[in-house]
Symmetry: C2
Subunit: 469 residues, 2 copies
């Protein structure tokens, strides 16, 4: 890519748009914005900017588009695919000052928020009005809702409530040339031309910069019960997953955790959980609703399925404290794995009945290439986070051989009807694996769409779509 480097004159122009206080070139800032949560990757921007208004973003993009300076939008920096890394330098466009919850419209069950709002703060704000925004990725305490839009985020409740895709009604976005549009309308239905709102979701900041978000909200369910089932093999736990749905119940969460992940997180985060010696895998199953009797009926149906699948123990958590402790275990698992070993995380997703085949296949591929893995994730959606652990693998194998193992994992995922990522996105680190799933014809359609929105290619360059061969 042939981009213009920043120079003092351009920097002065940026400062004149955003103000001195919103433009950072000191070493510490450049370092802070050189990484997200993706492995140990670092790419320094030439400048970090923190605009406050749509007009500022517009003027900034117009300037950068004119000069041919790359702009990499950034949310909370919690991404796991490297989408926020400024790999060509240029501008790191942090949306952290877009912090307003503009409106919670209790008449229409909608809200309008800025993209820099932390997801959990938004969830709590609508909960105070008796409403539910069900998109809660594990990073909800620090990720931004704008980043969630960019990645089509999910989280544990997808299994009942769907991904963020089903909650975003309308977006204000700034195109790379500085033009501002609303992508749709504040309506629950939309059949008025190509759905640009949906196109933006999961586009990883490569098409436009989101500056306002209109979401749908739901009435908040009054009750929930959490069950934890123990299994003596991964395969039995995974097989129980699709059986639960076939029993006619829909949990509000259905999470899988492999033993090693549980052991690590118990130590890492001092979790109170009695992990028995014979347990190889856990299923966390939550039901929510207004009516506790109805919830218990679903728990009973589920219990029968678990027994049929050789579940060795079922724990019921109905106090808030118990539930919170178990959820903390699940949510901190990624961090605990990270603290234990050099790792790479893949975000495989398949039709859920294929989970046993997927997890067995991953272990076989690991045996072949000499890596271990810790798997956990949103099993109810067929979405398994595969943490590949360096452990005894040599540096040379880790660097040169592992990619063939990952390729085999993705080939398996594809062959089972799945794809590369369910919710973490493609970003930088999965980009080169895209041809495993998508033909050149398919990738060319993506390249064409990119070209329509961003003809000069300044917005988050080098992400998601592999370069033309």
């Amino acid at each position: 890519m042939n981009f213009t480097k920043l120079n003092p004159q351009i920097l002065a122009e940026i400062k004149s748009i955003l103000g001195e206080n919103a433009v950072f070139t000191d070493a510490e800032s450049l370092d802070n914005y050189s990484h997200d949560e993706t492995e140990d990757l670092r790419y320094q921007p030439e400048v970090v900017v923190k605009p406050k208004t749509t007009a500022e973003v517009s003027a900034l993009l117009k300037l950068c588009n004119g000069y041919g300076i790359p702009v990499t939008p950034r949310g909370g920096g919690t991404g796991l695919s490297g989408a926020a890394l400024p790999i060509y330098g240029g501008v790191s466009l942090s949306m952290e000052k877009f912090k307003a919850i503009i409106e919670i419209d209790t008449e229409n069950l909608q809200a309008t928020v800025e993209p820099g709002v932390i997801t959990e703060e938004f969830i709590n704000a609508v909960a105070e009005q008796g409403l539910l925004y069900p998109v809660d990725p594990s990073s909800k305490g620090s990720c931004f809702i704008g980043g969630n839009v960019a990645h089509g985020s999910g989280g544990p409740r997808v299994v009942k409530y769907g991904t963020i895709r089903e909650y975003i009604l309308n977006l204000e976005v700034v195109l790379p040339n500085g033009e501002v549009i609303w992508t749709g309308a504040n309506t629950l239905k939309y059949a008025s031309g190509y759905n640009l709102t949906q196109l933006m979701i999961g586009s990883e900041g490569t098409l436009a910069v989101v500056t306002k978000i209109v979401t749908k909200l739901l009435p908040k369910p009054q009750n929930s019960v959490l069950m934890m089932g123990s299994f003596s093999t991964n395969e039995e736990a995974c097989a129980a997953v699709s059986a639960i749905f076939r029993a006619g119940v829909t949990p509000s969460a259905l999470e899988f955790m492999e033993r090693k992940g549980v052991e690590w997180v118990i130590k890492y985060d001092d979790i109170k959980f009695d992990l028995k010696d014979d347990v190889k895998a856990l299923l966390m199953i939550e039901f929510d609703g207004d009516d506790l009797d109805d919830i218990f009926k679903n728990c009973e149906k589920t219990n029968i399925v678990l027994e049929d699948h050789k579940c060795t123990e079922v724990l019921f958590a109905d106090s808030s404290a118990q539930k919170e402790e178990l959820w903390r275990m699940r949510r901190t698992m990624a961090e605990s794995v990270k603290s234990n070993s050099v790792y790479k995380e893949e975000d495989t997703v398949v039709p859920r009945a294929a989970l046993p085949e997927l997890i067995n296949g991953i272990k076989e591929i690991g045996a072949k290439y000499g890596f271990e893995s810790v798997c956990y994730g949103h099993a109810g959606d067929g979405n398994l986070h595969v943490n590949i652990i360096k452990a005894g693998m040599s540096d040379d194998d880790w660097k040169n051989k592992l990619k063939f193992g990952i390729t085999e994992i993705f080939e398996l995922t594809r062959d089972l009807g799945g794809t590369l990522s369910g919710e973490h996105g493609i970003g930088l680190v999965q980009k080169d694996y895209m041809p495993i799933k998508y033909s050149e014809i398919h990738l060319n359609l993506m390249r064409g769409i990119k070209q329509v929105f961003d003809p000069k290619g300044i917005l988050n360059p080098g992400k998601m779509i592999p370069d033309l061969k």
Copy 2:
């Protein structure tokens, strides 16, 4: 547009691809495929074709793309926006032979179907397996699931279950140049590049021809109860709509019907319903679920809201026969209006709390321009079908003045946060109103996307996006 006309040689080539029996040029066929359910519009194709396989569609499109012959895909012919009308002649591509329900996967709660399957037949087939496919437009007895994909269809259950957009996981499509791709994966989550599946939904056959559809399914709820509330003004009925959701309940259907529509349909379809003299509007409210007690609790909460909104009478229907009779009333309403008068139907959608303002505004605009209107629709989604009745309007006014009235209706819709169509699509008849809602910048993005998929512009030309000014 500058398209090639069919000639005997091209016709012979088409016949050699599809076989003599799948190619029709007789006057009756051309006439049958010259219209859908949109007003009284007629445009004759030069040839009607009925391919049976993806390979045949591919070879056909490749040929037509090479020659520059327009191809207009067609589903069940029930469209209300004229999207299936071959306005430039050429090929009417009927998908009526794509009739297979390929698989109902009860392990994964997914199905794979061909686009020519009638929606109701699919609903019934999955219901036999204890499963729910909740997308049921009023035309479900004759529309095709492929047409539903093309229009982003809804129907009464959207209010609880969402539109077809939330049920389509993956599509096999043929691009205008004959290339075949699957747009995504058979997974509940997807964060692997631009979401081409979502882009196809609602694209009205302008980007590619859908040849296979993978849908998500749900467990089928075991019970439902239908309530019918009577009101003495439209406004009170509409105001009750958002109040029902604010009470913390989510109906599985929430339909509004204006008195005149009810009167007409009672006569037209011999419906057994006692419409009292003082009733100006009805709300049909359905709850579904497994637990009847839970359903009745929701009915009670709703009853309180209805009383607060001056509902004059509430009827409870819990027998299948009663429910079916009331649903027949709602579903046949469009036909009854059609049989009563020359009309135009607009498919306005707004945030639901804006419904009272919308319906009052429509009546005021009608008074200004001298037209009457009959309104009904999916009030729970803020989606109001506005049937403009010619009645006493002169032919000249109908032809020349009405469009200004429609423009005002769409301006009002836009100003209330809504858009032109919730589920009927833009097609031919709403196309020229698109600039009311969308800027040239926005429309140019749509034109750019069209160009990426269909550079020669052969696929359903002249629809959805207004021509460049």
